[in-house]
C-alpha cells in the first residue's frame, strides 16, 4: 500500500479543516500561545504585524527561522508563515522548516515584479491574496491551495476586504450567467486556463477555501465577512494591537463560529476595550492590495 504526499487534494484539504475558524498573526511564541488558547485554528508567524510594517516602513521580508521554530514548538495547531511575492527561495526555506502553509503575501515587500512563485512545485500548500476573481483564478492556476481577500492589511479598516469578497462574489455570479463563448473570452481576459474557469462556473464558488483577510478589527467585522460568504477569517494587527488581545481574540473566534447569531455577537462584543486605532484608506501612502496582479 503506497502513500501519496503533497497531492492537490491534501493541500486543499488542510484549509478545508480550518473552515469556520480564525487564523491569527503572531510575532512570538507567547502570542502564539495566547492565540491557541483563545481558539485560533492556526497561527501566522511573522516578524511584525502589518500595522507596524506600515509604520516602520523599509523592506519587509520573511521572518527569522528561529522565531518560526519557536512558534512551532509552542503550539500544536498548524503554523503558517509569509514569503514575499515571487520570492521562491524564501518559500524553499519555509518548506525546509516544515511550516504547514506558506502565505505569498502582499504585506511583505514584493521580490519579483513579473512572476509569482510557481506554487505547484512545492510540497507545502500556499495561500494567496486576491482582490477579484481573475487574481484568485491566476493564483489557483499557479498552484495556490487556498485564497484570502487582500483587504488592506494593518489598517483596522474592513472596507477593502468587503470590497474584495463582494467583487469575487459578483464576478462568479456574472460568470454563471455567461454563454460558452463568453466564458472562453472571459478566461482569456483573466489569463486563466479555461478548465479552471469552467470549474468555478460549475461550482458557483472558488474550487479552494476562501478566507477573509485585511483590516478585520472587531468580532462584528469577522461576522460581516462570514455573512458575505467567506469560509473563515485571518486577523492580523486587529488582535495584538487591541487593548486586551486575549479577550479580543476569543471574541473574534466566537463571533466567527456564531456569525449569524446577533445575540451572541452582541454578547461577545461587550466590554472589549479599545480596538486597534485604524486608518482611513484615502490617507494611506502605500496600498498593499495593489501589490501582485
Amino acid at each position: 500500500m503506497k502513500k501519496k504526499t503533497a497531492t492537490p487534494r491534501l493541500k486543499k484539504g488542510l484549509a478545508q479543516m480550518l473552515k469556520g475558524g480564525v487564523i491569527m498573526d503572531v510575532v512570538n511564541a507567547e502570542q502564539a500561545r495566547i492565540a491557541e488558547k483563545a481558539g485560533a485554528v492556526s497561527v501566522m508567524a511573522l516578524e511584525r504585524v502589518p500595522s507596524d510594517i506600515r509604520k516602520d516602513g523599509g523592506v519587509a521580508r520573511m521572518s527569522d527561522p528561529k522565531m518560526i521554530r519557536e512558534i512551532q514548538k509552542a503550539v500544536s495547531i498548524p503554523v503558517m508563515a509569509k514569503v514575499r511575492i515571487g520570492h521562491f527561495v524564501e518559500a524553499q526555506i519555509l518548506e525546509a522548516l516544515e511550516v504547514d502553509y506558506i502565505d505569498e503575501s502582499e504585506v511583505l515587500t514584493p521580490a519579483d515584479e513579473q512572476f509569482h512563485v510557481d506554487k505547484s512545485k512545492f510540497k507545502i500548500p500556499f495561500v494567496c491574496g486576491a482582490t477579484n476573481l481573475g487574481e484568485a483564478a491566476r493564483r489557483i492556476s499557479e498552484g495556490a491551495a487556498m485564497i484570502r481577500t487582500k483587504g488592506e492589511a494593518g489598517t483596522g479598516n474592513v472596507v477593502e476586504a468587503v470590497r474584495h469578497i463582494r467583487t469575487i462574489n459578483s464576478e462568479i455570479a456574472k460568470l454563471q450567467r455567461m454563454s460558452t463563448a463568453a466564458v472562453k473570452k472571459y478566461a482569456a481576459e483573466i489569463r486563466t486556463p479555461l478548465a479552471l474557469v469552467e470549474e468555478i462556473k460549475k461550482l458557483g464558488r472558488l474550487p479552494v477555501v476562501n478566507f477573509a483577510a485585511g483590516g478585520v478589527a472587531t468580532p462584528a467585522d469577522a461576522a460581516l465577512l462570514m455573512q458575505l460568504g467567506c469560509d473563515g477569517v485571518f486577523v492580523g494587527s486587529g488582535i495584538f494591537k487591541s487593548k486586551n488581545p486575549a479577550k479580543m481574540a476569543r471574541a473574534i473566534v466566537e463571533a466567527t463560529m456564531n456569525f449569524r447569531d446577533a445575540k451572541i455577537l452582541a454578547r461577545v462584543s461587550e466590554g472589549l476595550g479599545e480596538a486597534m486605532k485604524g486608518l482611513e484608506i484615502a490617507t494611506l501612502e502605500t496600498k498593499l492590495a495593489t501589490r501582485g496582479w
Partner: protein, 204 residues
C-alpha cells in the same frame, strides 16, 4: 419514506464536505451549533478540524453534555447494522467521527481508544492512501490523512475495522465509528454508506 437526519457538529472544520456526501446518499444533513439542534436526529457526524478549538468551543457553548447524552441515549435507530437491540427495542445512535472527531470522542471517554494528536507529522507528512476495510467489501478506498492523529491502543470493547501500516485507522465500539483519516476529502461515499445506510435495506 422519511429522510434520515444526520447531525454534523458545526463548530468549525470540514462540515460541508460531510454534508455533500450525505446528500449524495440521500440523507439529510443538519448543522449542529446549539443544544436544541440535537433533537430528532437519526445519527451524528463529528467532522475534522482542530480538536483543541472544537473541544474548547463545545464547552463554552454547552454542547458537551448534550453531545454525550445524544450518543448514550437509545433511539429508534433505523440506520444501524448492529443486530443487537436493547430490551426496549431501541438502539444507540450511529456516530461517525473523523480525525478531530475521533480525538474528541477519546477525550470524552465515549470511545475507548488512546490517540496521539498530529502523530503522523506536520502537513508535509499528510498523505493519501488506499485502505482495505473488509467489513465494507473487497475494494480498497482512497482516503486522506491530514496532520492525522494516531490510534495508539484500543480497549476490549473496541473492534478494529481497518489498519494502515499495522496501525489501527478505523475502529468501532457499538454504534460509534472512529477513524483517523478523512473519506470525505477524497469524496469517498462507501464508508458513510456502510455506516449510515447498511441497516436500512432490511428495515425499510
Amino acid at each position: 419514506m422519511p429522510v434520515h437526519k444526520i447531525g454534523i457538529l458545526a463548530i468549525h472544520g470540514d462540515v460541508a464536505e460531510h454534508a455533500a456526501i450525505l446528500r449524495q446518499l440521500k440523507l439529510e444533513a443538519i448543522e449542529i451549533r446549539t443544544k436544541e439542534d440535537f433533537k430528532n436526529l437519526d445519527g451524528l457526524i463529528l467532522p475534522g478540524g482542530e480538536s483543541t478549538t472544537i473541544f474548547d468551543l463545545a464547552k463554552t457553548y454547552g454542547l458537551v453534555s448534550p453531545l454525550r447524552k445524544f450518543i448514550t441515549t437509545p433511539i429508534k435507530n433505523l440506520a444501524t447494522n448492529n443486530p443487537k437491540v436493547t430490551p426496549s427495542g431501541l438502539q444507540l445512535p450511529t456516530v461517525l467521527a473523523t480525525c478531530a472527531g475521533l480525538i474528541l470522542l477519546a477525550k470524552l471517554k465515549l470511545l475507548d481508544v488512546k490517540v496521539e494528536r498530529n502523530a503522523y507529522g506536520r502537513q508535509l507528512e499528510s498523505f493519501e492512501a488506499k485502505v482495505k476495510i473488509p467489513a465494507i467489501g473487497k475494494k480498497e478506498i482512497t482516503v486522506a490523512f491530514i496532520r492525522a492523529p494516531k490510534i495508539l491502543s484500543v480497549g476490549k470493547s473496541v473492534k478494529i475495522l481497518a489498519k494502515f501500516e499495522d496501525v489501527p485507522v478505523l475502529v468501532r465500539q457499538g454504534e460509534i465509528f472512529g477513524m483517523s483519516f478523512h473519506p470525505e476529502i477524497t469524496s469517498e461515499t462507501a464508508l458513510h454508506k456502510f455506516i449510515f445506510k447498511s441497516g436500512l435495506k432490511s428495515s425499510r
